[in-house]
């Protein structure tokens, strides 16, 4: 094999296999630090040997056994001075275990890694950082750039999370069947957090943000492949659908474009189609959770030719089911907005007031913005202005503020004579 071809092969293996190799080495060597060191040595050995001897038929097994052997060798030499015999016997036991390329054992290691990084005992921002670095293979500096925080902040989150895993002896395992749904939920929440950071935030250079969304989709796909869980499918579909209309959410000036005004011809149709297939596959399982329902709602929007031609009856019906599964104030608010599209602003306003009355939305700017929108459409200018003020007091995000300010300014325009244009 030529030098270039070997380098390419090495690169491909690095991207494709190292996370799996790391996942197995953590189990065999009993810790993140030892596994990272072993992986480093294995990759260094590969860089030296593969160009000479060719890429092995099973790179995963080669890297695992090389990494483990080098660690064992080094610890043996070290143990002569330090007398670390008990640790060595544990390693020798691990050495008995065969490393095969056939599926299940490796997939279990990957799941162990995901579930450990997303363990509920860790703080949410630590889960995110750890998952992106250990499962996603991003560097500390890349994560820091994407989150617009200094690299030492991310580095310390990761160091502390690993210390916690070690000190509290958080087991490196796939959760039991009884625990599994809750633990999958925790892992999916991490993936969605990563996606939203890339999707919702408009601060900073957009490129790195898109990288985060792409990474979340990649992680979501992997969780689907490893678990086949319907909610994992639902989350994947939801992310694909949001991502399909990424380019139309913000206009050239960086202002938000509402769903009803987005240029639907620019939505990524192939990605929408993939999401619809994922939703169908999930629905076949007959276990319906919040991610799948949100994906189904986004799916109805995605196939509608315009906001008016959307099947609002179905959207409201899906929100009714979602409210039973996830009775959160935000779901109530979104349902109210759908009701306004189905039945008009009068009914919409009643539904929004009801949602606000249930509590939990007072500090949520979108609730007040939605109420203002209904009041504006009903010609209740003073009430609408008050609601816009409330909404503005609650958000500092520049694009969101510009949107609200524009809407508020339009209220001041004289009602008569009416402008002939419907553009607003």
């Amino acid at each position: 094999m030529s030098l270039d071809a070997t380098r390419d092969a090495l690169e491909a293996v690095y991207r494709g296999e190292t996370r799996r190799v790391l996942a197995t080495l953590i189990r065999l060597l009993g810790g993140f630090d030892a596994a990272e060191e072993a992986l480093h040595e294995a990759v260094a050995a590969a860089a030296e040997q593969w160009p000479r001897e060719g890429v092995p038929t099973n790179p995963y097994a080669w890297l695992v056994s090389t990494g483990r052997f080098k660690t064992l060798d080094r610890r043996r030499r070290h143990a002569r001075f330090q007398g670390l015999v008990p640790e060595l016997s544990a390693l020798a036991d691990a050495e008995q275990e065969p490393t095969t390329r056939d599926g299940e054992a490796i997939e279990d290691d990957e799941l162990r890694l995901i579930f450990t990084c997303c363990h509920p005992a860790l703080a949410p921002d630590a889960r995110v950082a750890l998952t992106l670095r250990e499962v996603g293979g991003l560097t500390t500096e890349e994560i820091a750039r994407a989150y617009l925080v200094p690299a030492p902040t991310i580095a310390q989150r990761i160091v502390r999370a690993k210390a916690k895993i070690r000190d509290e002896a958080i087991p490196y395992e796939v959760p039991s069947r009884a625990e599994l749904p809750a633990r999958i939920e925790s892992a999916l929440a991490v993936v969605y957090l990563i996606f939203n950071e890339g999707y919702a935030a408009t601060a900073g250079p957009s490129l790195t943000r898109e990288d985060l969304s792409a990474e979340a989709i990649r992680l979501g796909r992997r969780v689907v492949e490893l678990t086949g869980d319907p909610e994992a499918l639902g989350l994947l579909a939801l992310m694909l659908l949001h991502d399909a209309r990424r380019g139309t959410r913000v206009d050239a000036a960086g202002d938000l474009v509402l769903l009803e005004n987005q240029d639907r011809s620019r939505w990524d149709r192939a990605q929408v189609a993939e999401a619809q297939r994922v939703i169908e596959r999930a629905l076949a399982s007959r276990r319906v959770g919040p991610y799948l329902l949100q994906a189904a709602i986004a799916g109805v929007h995605a196939e509608a030719p315009s906001a008016r031609e959307t099947d609002w009856v179905q959207v409201v019906a899906l929100y009714d089911v979602l409210r039973r599964v996830d009775p959160s104030p935000v779901v109530a608010l979104n349902r109210a907005a759908a009701v306004s599209m189905r039945d008009g602003p009068e009914a919409g306003l009643v539904a929004i007031e009801a949602a606000l009355g249930e509590g939990g939305l007072d500090a949520y700017y979108l609730a007040h913005a939605a109420r203002a929108d209904m009041q504006r459409r009903l010609g209740r200018t003073d009430a609408a202005r008050d609601s816009y003020e409330r909404a503005l007091a609650l958000t500092r995000q520049p694009a969101e503020r510009r949107f609200l300010e524009t809407r508020r300014a339009e209220l001041v325009l004289p009602e008569k004579p009416r402008r002939p244009s419907t553009m607003d």
Partner: protein, 121 residues
């Protein structure tokens, strides 16, 4: 990426003939230490005490020198290890192998990448 692990310690704690100090100094010289066999070390620079140093400044083209530094602080820069690492967290993990981290502290600083924008202060 390259990182400098800057080693700070209080010489009184290291050279006081205590068992801890002696162990750290012995481990620091071990050619087969975990750190030196890790494949990450680019170069290392154990430094003599600041009393042996001269500090110079060039102002208006003229060089002036002073002894020292004799710092008020107890911890002084006692050496450095330059490491090659995948990212900051890997550099931190390697830095933790430096024996003097047990008695002093190790500051891990990334090298400057001149292709990147300069810091804005």
């Amino acid at each position: 990426m390259r990182y400098a692990c800057l080693i700070y310690f209080d010489p009184k704690k290291v050279f006081d003939k205590s068992p801890e100090g002696e162990a750290v100094l012995r481990d620091s010289m071990d050619p087969n230490s975990e750190l030196r066999t890790s494949g990450h070390v680019v170069s290392e620079g154990p430094l003599q005490l600041p009393e042996q140093a001269v500090t110079l400044q060039v102002r208006d083209g003229k060089t002036s020198t002073t002894d020292g530094p004799f710092m008020e602080t107890k911890e002084m820069l006692g050496g450095f290890v330059i490491v090659e690492a995948r990212d900051l967290n890997e550099a931190v993990r390697i830095g933790a192998m430096i024996p003097l981290a047990r008695l002093g502290s190790v500051e891990v600083r990334p090298f400057v990448d001149f292709t990147k924008p300069r810091p804005v202060l």
